[in-house]
Symmetry: C2
Subunit: 357 residues, 2 copies
């Protein structure tokens, strides 16, 4: 297949800190339950896994938000738990309770059985990437993604979401070598997985370190960032003559920004607790920043949403040699009114132009 | 009553950055469910509220951890939701689900009815403080506490714990003036409440801003810190000739340390994501720091617990003109083995001495 010419490269340019005429915007979890059309497709698919594992459905829901809003990037519809699913941990989505593994990793014997899965087990993901690229036909770039090794390991060890991470932290403090083995295998799998996504057509990749922020200072660097760096080091940073920018997002990781930059990423995602002006200054614009509107601000009025959007853009300030990709600081809530998302995107595009003179 | 002479003032001195011979230690939620004797008292009390509202029981459980461990401070056994309970919101503790209010604040009419409660409604708290002071008989100082206005308001508006704070954030973004009224009344109530605790015998006070870290940068300062400052400004900072140090703890607030110091507090509590060396440098030792061991580190081995304790103490470094109170970065888990708490306290006391030459 010959790739269609990219008609809107604002997102890719901003990630590389190249001049653009406005701040590009996409939203974490932009294809999701706040959209009626997503719920309809999911209902046809029968289940979340039925949706995520079927390239036709995955393509359909990936495109849906672009039909509603002039977003500057698409992101593969998938889940960060597809790797451990392919590792044989038995992923299930229990209604109203979120993901759960039938076989969590708790003992040395469990860990000894762990291996990098055959990438063919994840073929449906790469097929979805190819199909989405074809369907996009150059409209906007496509982002591929994976969870960070630490975050994926949290689910693998806990077996489900957790409020205190007691199982994985017990392992971290009492048997660190065992946890390092899990992280090592997961990092290798993640690297292969993302490189396959790039070969299938992903034009940028993002690592979601959703739970890095629960780690103590010092241990974040050893148990999360070191493995993010391992992935970044092995990624295809150029493919078919195109640069493939890499975004690293540790939720709750604002204090570690200087460290995160050492991963070699092109951009760092930030949550809403971080002041973007201070963040730029701390790293001297050495990478682009992505973020960082509070997703809950979308429960305000049209006027307050415009005001909060302007506040984020003002915080970043004149873009100069930096790079800013507008986003939420976490996934959009399923209870969000889609109408207000139009307001957000409109305000980002209109208000940000003055920052790009 | 004539107060007994304080036999161990290490904690109060460290908060005021005066020389001490070792780093004092106490643990958030040190009187709690990880102790069998606590569960026995609670069972006799019949319920959590039965325990917290009875000065005899509250005294008993406050003292329990001191009988086991050579801690350097006692903290009043109570709950941050006693103020809204006294405001008539109808506090209940549903087994296995945590606190819940029968009458959460959702509408302007709800808010219009809100008023600072008569402090007499909270007499049982002040009686507990007096009784604990008498029972302590000068053994260690007694800490009084309250929730921050923002954190208490989160519960008042949500009506219970929340994962996304949708109700209060909707109010914050859509009707900020309404939320400011709740915060104003709550701040006034908190101020009166803490001053009554001081008059009853509390020798230091702490504001728990457990949920300040969910706010966006800029909004934390307006909706949480401004009201913490209001409380700090009105507190009795000296009583009966004794200084009353004030500790402010915003969980997840490490990025805002410089701002928190402007509240006028004597010490800032920090969670385990913050590096203590960097924190000291950022504020040039202008206040003491309290923290910041990950409570989950207590699920490690005896050796790993000693190592993590030493890491925190090493991070703070030679105390010099600063002040360090050792603590966890959050309440101790109910699943903690009490034996390991002895190890923690022992290591803090032994290892920290070299930092106080």
């Amino acid at each position: 297949m010959v790739a269609a010419t990219l008609q809107n490269d604002t997102f890719l340019r901003a990630l590389q800190r190249q001049p653009v005429s406005y701040t590009p915007v996409w939203l974490m979890r932009q294809a999701g339950r706040y959209l009626a059309e997503y719920n309809q497709t999911r209902s046809r698919a029968g289940s979340f896994l039925g949706l995520a594992k079927n390239p036709d459905f995955a393509t359909e829901v990936t495109i849906q938000p672009l039909e509603r809003f002039p977003l500057d990037a698409a992101i593969l519809f998938s889940d960060i738990l597809m790797i451990p699913d392919a590792m044989g941990l038995g992923l299930e989505f229990v209604a109203g309770e979120g993901p759960r593994f039938a076989h969590p990793l708790r003992t040395e014997a469990d860990v000894n059985k762990l291996a990098v899965p055959e990438m063919d087990e994840l073929r449906y993901v790469f097929d979805a990437v190819s199909q989405i690229r074809q369907t996009l036909n150059g409209r906007v770039p496509l982002i591929g993604f994976a969870g960070s090794p630490w975050t994926v390991s949290c689910y693998m060890v806990e077996g489900q979401g957790s409020s205190d991470y007691r199982n994985i932290k017990t392992m971290l403090y009492a048997q660190p070598a065992l946890l390092h083995r899990i992280l090592e295998v997961t990092a290798q799998a993640t690297l292969q997985y993302l490189n396959e996504q790039i070969r299938a057509g992903a034009q940028a990749v993002m690592l979601f370190d959703s739970w890095g922020g629960v780690l103590a200072d010092g241990l974040y660097q050893q148990f999360s960032l070191a493995y993010i760096k391992q992935v970044c080091d092995g990624l295809l940073r150029e493919y078919n003559g195109q640069k493939i920018p890499v975004i690293v997002f540790t939720k709750g990781g604002g204090l570690w920004l200087e460290d995160i930059v050492t991963s070699g990423c092109d951009a760092v995602g930030l949550d809403w607790t971080v002041n973007l002006a201070k963040a730029r200054a701390r790293i001297n614009d050495s990478v682009a920043l992505q973020g960082n509107l509070d997703p809950m601000s979308l429960f305000g009025t049209e006027e307050s949403v415009r005001q909060e959007v302007r506040r984020v853009i003002d915080d970043f300030g004149p873009v100069g040699n930096g790079g800013h990709v507008f986003n939420l600081g976490h996934g959009i809530s399923q209870f969000t009114n889609p109408e207000i998302v139009s307001v957000l995107v409109d305000e980002v595009h209109a208000y940000s132009q003055k920052m790009h003179k």
